[in-house]
């Protein structure tokens, strides 16, 4: 029941839990009032959360309309505050991380549901949970102190041997190995549990008699997975993808520790860069006045992206459940 568990079912179809709030003549006891009061507090906190950040970002939007998306670089303390480098960095790291996580995560989920003997399932589930429980900062630490040197020593010389490597990845930009590629790799490890948790659930609820029916026609195990199970679970798998992407965009400290913290718009993965969240984390401490507002504006942008992806994911997972209900 941590963040990596799949989103709860869509409770609008209520089989469980008698909705006593809707029963006949509700007698409003203090119990009800307490519950409603807490809900109001929760709503207030959520609204305050969004509102405060938006409110604080308004000065930046007023003074520097449009430059938030601009690539003029980020000049403290008075601006202009161009956020393009952060946006690009976020996109690059998130997408590369997603690509890695989806490939490995899908193979993992398929293994758990179809290949792994039943007695190992608990072990693997625990393993995935533990992966998810590791704090972000520890991943960042490991990435910076362990992965980075290793990549410098092993991976990058190996990459160099490929024909277009330099064009694609660039020369290793920073001595200590911080780069967008490193950030992507660390991110992929962090979002893997999210993807695996949801995709595993989605795959395992594909009705078993579809599996039996396809086997009875002479299909091989892979054919069953590829032609029946995955297509049936397709919508939910997209939901898992979007949620993993949402998580990747929001990761702060790990990226801050390994990406290099350089605000340049560039597409070479071996160069250092930054993401929106990481930039806010690193710059906020020293920021004054206008810069604070600009960072809040970045925060608004981050919120929009993350919330959007989250909501899309939720809608997809709900839709997947409806698809299966018809079967």
């Amino acid at each position: 029941m941590s963040i990596v568990t799949p989103p709860p079912p869509d409770f609008t179809s209520h089989e469980e839990g008698v909705p006593e709030f809707n029963s006949g003549t509700p007698s409003r006891t203090w119990y009800h009032y307490v519950l409603i009061l807490s809900s109001i507090v929760f709503a207030a906190v959520s609204v305050g959360f969004i509102g405060t950040i938006v409110w604080n970002s308004l000065p930046d939007f007023a003074h520097h309309t449009g430059t938030l998306l601009g690539g003029n670089g980020w000049q403290s303390p008075d601006g202009p505050f161009g956020g393009l480098a952060m946006i690009v960095g976020t996109l690059e790291t998130s997408i590369v991380a997603l690509a890695i996580a989806v490939v490995i995560g899908l193979g993992t989920s398929i293994s758990i549901v179809f290949i792994l003997p039943r007695r190992f399932r608990n072990v693997v589930a625990t393993l995935v949970e533990l992966l998810a429980a590791v704090p972000s900062v520890v991943y960042g630490l490991w990435g910076f102190l362990v992965l980075a040197p290793w990549m410098l020593k092993t991976v990058i010389p190996w990459l160099d041997r490929w024909p277009y490597a330099k064009e694609l990845f660039g020369n290793p930009g920073q001595q200590d190995g911080q780069s967008l590629l490193l950030a992507s790799v660390v991110l992929s490890v962090m979002i893997l549990p999210t993807f695996v948790a949801i995709s595993r659930e989605v795959i395992s609820v594909v009705p078993h008699d579809l599996v039996e029916a396809s086997l009875s026609l002479g299909a091989t195990r892979w054919q069953v997975i590829r032609s029946v199970v995955l297509p049936t679970a397709k919508i939910g798998l997209f939901g898992a993808t979007f949620l993993a992407l949402a998580r990747a965009t929001g990761e702060t400290v790990a990226v801050a520790l390994v990406a290099g913290g350089v605000a340049n718009v560039q597409f070479h993965l071996l160069y250092p860069g930054t993401s929106i969240a990481a930039w806010i984390a690193t710059e906020f401490g020293e920021a004054q006045g206008n810069e604070v507002s600009a960072l809040m504006a970045l925060g608004v942008l981050l919120m929009l992206v993350n919330f959007g992806l989250s909501l899309i994911s939720r809608a997809l997972v709900i839709r997947q459940r409806r698809v299966l209900a018809v079967v």
Binding site: P117, R118, P207, D209, L210, E212, A213, S214, L215, S216, L217, G218, A219, T220, Q223, S227, V228, P231, T232, K234, V323, V326, V327
Partner: protein, 279 residues
């Protein structure tokens, strides 16, 4: 005693249309037993399934009928801890130890399940030819011909021929089940296994499928599990009666032609069952 039922049985018995001489055996079972993690679920199954006849496996619930059926296309391979003992021969070849792979076996022995289960992401056409596609058949001419033949055999062609690309979930329950029958038939198997195919359907749909059987058995050998005695009496030529013993394992009590089973069985337990004394 159920008057209507007895009338049914008498109609069946008084007009034996099947020759009492056995033809060739499509499948032979010799001492077949199935156990899960050592616990025996069904045993002592020895009988021959004759070609182009409908053989039904009947008996109260828990008697191991479905377990036995699923051994015939090696579905128990999926279940860890499942062991199938004895011999099951398909046209003389041992399906477990003989010179035949599981995938090949399943192209020759098809299966229809209790609940209609067309592949939800595929159209009617795609469902019908899914077996062929799995097996690598790509030529449109073959696929089209197989689709038409099988859908006709399942008495579905007329109602779907103009909407073959429509999603299979648009069909009613009975039509979906007939689509599943067509899907299995498209592979032109020698044997068709049916696991209580009408128990999830309404009476009209049930009747339609029962009517198919007489036509179907000209092309395939049918082995059907049914908990509905009257259905067995109506549609099958041979019956295998299974019963759960004291050790909670199902066993074959009696195997004979349907008319013998229902009219003049050897074992008193068979008589008790067919007379509805327990269910």
């Amino acid at each position: 005693m159920d008057q209507e039922f007895m009338a049914h049985v008498e109609t069946k018995v008084s007009t034996p249309s099947e020759p009492l001489e056995r033809g060739t055996a499509a499948m032979q079972l010799k001492g077949v037993a199935v156990s899960f993690h050592g616990r025996v679920a069904v045993r002592d199954c020895t009988f021959d399934v004759t070609k182009n006849r409908v053989t039904s496996l009947i008996g109260p619930s828990g008697s191991g009928k479905t377990t036995l059926l699923r051994a015939l296309n090696r579905l128990h391979d999926l279940t860890p801890g499942a062991k199938v003992a004895g011999q099951i021969l398909l046209e003389g070849t041992d399906i477990y130890r003989g010179d035949i792979t599981v995938t090949e076996l399943r192209t020759r022995v098809g299966m229809v399940f209790q609940r209609p289960n067309p592949f939800p992401t595929m159209s009617i056409y795609e469902n019908a030819v899914s077996g062929l596609r799995f097996n690598g058949v790509k030529k449109k001419a073959i696929l089209d011909e197989a689709a038409e033949t099988s859908l006709k055999s399942a008495a579905l062609w007329d109602s779907v021929q103009n909407r073959l690309k429509v999603a299979a979930s648009n069909l009613s329950g009975g039509e979906q089940q007939r689509l599943c029958i067509a899907r299995a038939l498209a592979m032109d198997p020698e044997v068709l296994l049916m696991d209580e195919p009408t128990s999830a359907l309404d009476p009209i749909a049930t009747l339609k499928i029962e009517e198919l059987m007489t036509e179907l058995k000209k092309r395939v050998t049918v082995i059907i599990v049914t908990h509905n005695m009257q259905q067995a009496a109506r549609i099958s030529d041979d019956c295998a009666f299974l019963l759960m013993g004291e050790d909670r394992a199902g066993e074959l009590i009696e195997f004979d032609t349907t008319e013998k089973i229902f009219n003049n069985p050897i074992d008193p337990r068979t008589l008790d069952y067919t007379l509805g004394r327990f269910g």
